[in-house]
Amino acid sequence: MKRIYLDHAATTPVDPEVLEAMLPYYVESFGNPSSIHSFGRETRKALDQARATVAKEIGAAEPSEIIFTGSGSESDNMAIKGVALSYREKGDHIITSAIEHHAVFDTCKFLEKQGFKVTYLPVNGEGLVNPADLKQALTDKTILVTIMHANNEVGTIQPIAEIAKILKERKILFHTDAVQTTGSIPVDVHELGVDLLSLAAHKFYGPKGVGVLYARKGIRLTPVIHGGAQERNRRAGTENIAGIVGLAKALELANQKLPETSKSLTELRDYLIDNVLQKFEYVRLNGHRTRRLPGNANFSFEFIEGESLLLNLDLKGIAASSGSACTSGSLEPSHVLLGMGICHEIAHGSLRLTLGKSTTKEEIDYVLEVLPEIVNKLRAMSPLYNN
């Protein structure tokens, strides 16, 4: 059976060109970049180049502002804990949104246990934070605001630059989780006006296990991983050279093709959304209709539960995901959908289809073809559906 991958927000395959760039750094060029001998200097050079590339791609002022980490989650943890612990004498208040990724959300919950105060800004029905709410939440003790660039479930893009302006005036540090946006829409730290930014390679056709935290020069960051002097004493551990080289290459490629990919993905996404909304009763689009990631479509099908929808799609060769938390072993439905004011029943029935650069119109047509019979079958089985 031909398989159709529509879960690009979860992860993407490594681009063969990226893998090719990585391959020299396993068997042949393997030195520890901290070593002063020729093996080490070789990989140090690759590391420096990758850092310069990433700095350039995201508009950082200096390569030293780029910190390589082991994942997007680690970048988020490091930004938030790093600032919290370093600026505690200035204040103990952090502001975030109600629909952040768990890497931000759980880190904030952890810091609450450590005595910090956290405000979780509400979002509207489309998933947007209101900058006016942020303004109101600011206090003398606010040391950090962390708001994601775009949401991983519903794709809504936040008004980051607008928020940054408010914070710049008050000299409050601003972090954004750009794990979903990097490589998909333009991400430039200068234009966004952020002080810290997280990204992860595996979301833009790079390898898993490597991420970046951008931290503007001068920001103090207590390390999350203590130890050796790597990454200017900010993140210990022998550098994952192959992964870092892959991240830089993937970012370069993604940004090169961005205008083109973004346009075609948006078209395909809109085609999918329009057709689903037309074809079905009791369906709603989650997230903002236009202010959303090019590849993201997220629907709620009333009366049915997400996992059974996914399993049926999988049986038809279609890989998708859901906000349904049952899939991850917890019984809570997505805090993102609930945070947007969607009721439990409907939140449980969400279906996220995320398109990628290899997605074709034929694939979307196939989805549109098989979806009705699956939805009908599940609704016929549902005690909530009475037609």
């Binding site: 539960e305 029943e345 449980h348 549902s382 005690p383």
Partner: protein
């Protein structure tokens, strides 16, 4: 993640639907939790002669519902009440640990339906 048996019952659930004049109906779960199961019984002479279900829930929820209906058909009420959550899960060759809560629901719904039948009988 799921066993072949679970996938079989998920794909081809047995006894889906309602029984118009069911003399025992049991419902458990709620939309907040994400699982709702409703079991309809037709009991005659203390024996379950027909059973149907409707379920809103995950793959395990659907499969356990389907399995429990298969297991009780033709059984006396006493026999049916002996069916445990564990037995349903075992009949499906096991469930992922985090899904065991769903197999609980299937037995619960059955027992509630039997209760309903008995209370109607008594009333």
């Amino acid at each position: 993640m799921y066993t072949d048996k679970v996938m079989d019952h998920f794909q081809n659930p047995r006894n889906v639907g309602e029984i118009e004049n069911a003399n025992g109906v049991g419902e458990v779960g709620n939309a907040v939790c994400g699982d709702i199961m409703k079991i309809y019984l037709q009991v005659e002479d203390n024996r379950i002669v027909d059973v149907k279900f409707k379920t809103f829930g995950c793959g395990a929820a659907i499969a356990t519902s389907s399995m429990v209906t298969e297991m009780v058909k033709g059984k006396t009420l006493e026999e049916a009440l002996e069916i445990t959550n564990q037995a349903v899960a075992e009949a499906l060759d096991g469930l992922p640990p985090q899904k065991m809560h769903c197999s609980n629901l299937a037995a619960d719904a059955l027992h509630k339906a039997i209760q309903d039948y008995r209370s109607k009988l008594a009333g």
